[in-house]
């Protein structure tokens, strides 16, 4: 099973912490996890996990979209990190290009409009900027991510 973590702008601190947390869960379930993001998002991940205990494979966000569009790779499960309109655009793009079950990981201060626009995806959402615990509680509520791919 393959999973993708797709990250946008890392201006909200919870993104990196939650990405590492989800990556650990997925690794433990046997997923091959790829993390895609812009340079800043990937740099934060790699600097937070220098020995790559959690983050095994990374790629540039634009290259990831290109590879999905060209059908050079695909995933079973795709987490899209969303705290702005741009995240919704990336979610719609991945939903259109991939057969993966999509999971919208929504955070920030104004999450309701983002939840409404993520219909069709599994929603993990909490008002969170600095504190990852509300999102972590929702992630822990999912007992098996692999079950979502079946």
């Amino acid at each position: 099973m393959k999973a993708l973590l797709m990250m946008g702008c890392p201006e909200l601190p919870v993104q990196t912490a939650v990405a590492l947390y989800i990556a650990n869960k997925l690794n433990n379930e046997g997923f091959e996890v790829t993390s895609a993001g812009n340079k800043a998002a990937i740099s934060l991940l790699l600097n937070s996990d220098p020995e790559k205990h959690y983050i095994k494979k990374v790629m540039d966000l634009d290259r990831c979209i290109g590879a999905l569009a060209e059908k050079n790779m695909d995933f079973d499960l795709c987490f899209v990190f969303i705290h702005s309109d741009s995240g919704i655009s990336y979610l719609a793009t991945v939903s259109s290009l991939s057969k993966a079950k999509t999971v919208a990981v929504i955070f920030g201060k104004d999450i309701e409009p983002l939840i409404e626009r993520s219909a069709g995806s599994v929603i993990i959402a909490a008002k969170a900027v600095h504190n990852p615990m509300p999102l972590r509680a929702q992630i822990d509520g999912v007992k098996s991510w692999a079950a979502l791919t079946k």
């Binding site: 946008g8 702008c9 201006e11 993001g37 812009n38 800043a40 998002a41 966000l61 634009d62 979209i65 290109g66 999905l68 569009a69 702005s84 309109d85 741009s86 995240g87 919704i88 655009s89 990336y90 719609a92 793009t93 259109s96 290009l97």
Partner: protein
């Protein structure tokens, strides 16, 4: 890519509406459509316009929202006209 920004830092819907309202020759393409060596990001169908030899397109940046760009069309204009998915 040379470009002029027609609408800065907006939501994708605003950018799509801007293109549909302000240009006559509009084509609709799927997400991931490749143009000017970029793969388009957005809610499909994504509107692209042709105007005075230029392509008018939405462009999403993760940190800055969506922009409407005017880009010198070159060969992309003819490619859009030949391979159009739908016309607005």
């Amino acid at each position: 890519m040379n470009y002029e920004i027609l609408l800065p830092n907006s939501g994708f819907r605003e950018c799509a509406d801007f293109i549909k309202k302000n240009f006559k020759e509009v084509y609709y393409v799927p997400a991931g459509f490749k143009i000017f060596d970029n793969y388009l990001v957005g809610l499909p169908p994504i509107p692209l316009a042709v105007d005075a030899g230029d392509v008018i397109m939405p462009y999403v940046k993760p940190c800055h929202g969506c922009f409407v760009l005017r880009v010198p069309g070159g060969g992309e204009v003819e490619r859009l006209r030949k391979g159009k998915v739908g016309e607005g």
